[in-house]
Symmetry: C4
Subunit: 191 residues, 4 copies
């Protein structure tokens, strides 16, 4: 089956997710520079979430680039990933409006952890669908970066009750780890 | 005529529908875990509706995969389907915010029943447009699953005044029936 | 220049327009069937606007199908059309929430008239860009249907102060006129 | 790597940005023509922002048309541009609802300046990715128009505290400068 429509639908969903988040940033009622201050934490949450959705789009792009076939299970694994990512605007809003309250920061991380797990499942499902074609399997390799991310997420969620700032530092760290798209795939394909 | 733009437009509309529903899940004002409780029924409605839109996208994907031609009536049959699906965010919100009140559960089912009927009409219209090409007709066959779904919807709508929980169980049952995309089409095309 | 991206962008904008309109239909607070009654005029406005956007998408699809080249002016003529159509959710909401108040019905018609004019300009700009290729020019012909629509819009706008119902009947009439996509183009291309 | 998905994702994001802005134009509660008056500044801000997003889409279209390859850095340079453009609905709403208050007009310009800078970075990154292919580099040339725009933005931001009207005139002037898409690229490619 053709992967074109799966890409197009994912692009559409991710484009809407990344854009509707900004709707949560309500224009303040005042006209002074001061009146922008309450928007600051919402803005910072937005920046972090924008980068996360950007990372997912980027890696999704790379992942499907290394793929020839998609089948029924792949479509559902992809929808499963999109489901968790679709919750990011909600967790971003809750975290942003509550100036990084402990539970909101933990929930933000839980959704990121579940999205990360969904991405892992999508990768495995895609590999299984490629049959003899080992391009993707070799490109992904042992996926050390993916495993480290999961550990940081788990630690950040647990630490949210201690200090939400440490948790947020954890989320920022994972984002930095992934900002560079998966060069392994790029390299393998070029070779 | 080319089916590409009909697919692209449908992907766009379904991507927006599936994503704007999450906007109905307003971030709670409290910061405790307790404050998330009122969001729970809205979240469950969202999960059910996400799965339904996912099922429709998946089957729409399979349906158009088996098709070569689209014509004027096909475009309108497709828009008719998108119309009923576009009402899902509204019925989801009403059902979710009212903790499964009888009428809201019935209306949710009515829109699903009408979307199911629209899908049936789209299938028939597409078959008519294929002329001598019987790939789609043979792949769809007697469509037992479609007919059973209609019966369950109708029963669930009628039972909503008795117990909304039974109705919801009906909607979940239909979703499970359809979670696996139409293997008939996949099989026929591969053969 | 390639027409692919102009189609993709138009599809995206029209998909968002047609879907965000439904967000104006707020889920009622009550749980009785009665509580749905205030939603009725909003729903009817939504149906009319959905059909109008559907008609525009359908005809836009047909129009670009008959076209080989797009250039700078074409892109702007297309954005001009999308601008007026993007105002339809606003006029729909104002008309729907005010149970067809005279001015809201008139404004709805004015935006339709301006969108119709923009479509006409787009057609002319596309024709000019095709140079020697007369496929589109011959397919569009004298465009009697377009001219009649303009007249009905103008009359409906003027009559809104007398009776909003007559105006709405005018808008419905134009919609019926256009429900069938432009068979002239379909016919010309097949020949 | 293929540029198709980068175009599709950008089209999606820009289509949502350009359309959700209109959601900020709330339908007035009154039914008289008078009740539309408070909507006027919001409408004018919307028109300006629609034109700006239209200009960006148009030039983005032309820019990628002259390009063969995209790579990792290009994808991020593109997301960076989309980030600043995604803030346009927010700055438009703040400016529109405050009848051109000084700070809101300055912030509007700052986001435009940052989007302009991001576009410049995207152009440079794309050039670097083309290696020996000098089509894009020759087409863009010395980019006088880009430099003038930056100067006008900077002056408009500084002048916002003196007179917001002069600043707005500056933004309108830049828009007029860019309304014609980059003919340099069109010309170079045709030759």
């Amino acid at each position: 089956m053709d992967k074109g429509r799966m890409e197009a639908f994912s692009d559409g969903v991710l484009a809407v997710i990344i854009t509707v988040m900004v709707l949560e940033m309500k224009a303040p009622h005042g006209t002074s520079l001061e009146s922008l201050r309450p928007v600051a934490p919402v803005f910072l949450s937005y920046v972090l979430s924008f980068i996360y959705i950007g990372i997912y789009w980027n890696n999704h792009h790379h992942l499907l680039y290394a793929v020839r076939r998609v089948n029924g299970p792949t479509l559902w694994a992809n929808l499963h990933l999109l489901f968790w990512l679709s919750l990011v605007p909600f967790t971003t809003a809750w975290m942003g409006e509550n100036r990084l309250a402990a539970w909101s920061v933990a929930l933000y991380g839980i959704v990121l952890l579940l999205a990360g797990t969904a991405y892992l499942i999508l990768t495995k499902t895609l590999m299984a669908a490629q049959k003899d074609d080992r391009t993707l399997a070799m490109a992904v390799g042992s996926d050390v970066k993916g495993k480290i991310s999961m550990l940081i997420y788990a630690a950040s969620i647990a630490l949210a009750v201690v200090s939400p700032w440490i948790s947020c530092a954890g989320y920022v760290l994972v984002a930095i780890l992934w900002l560079v798209p998966d060069r392994r795939i790029e390299r393998r394909i070029v070779e």
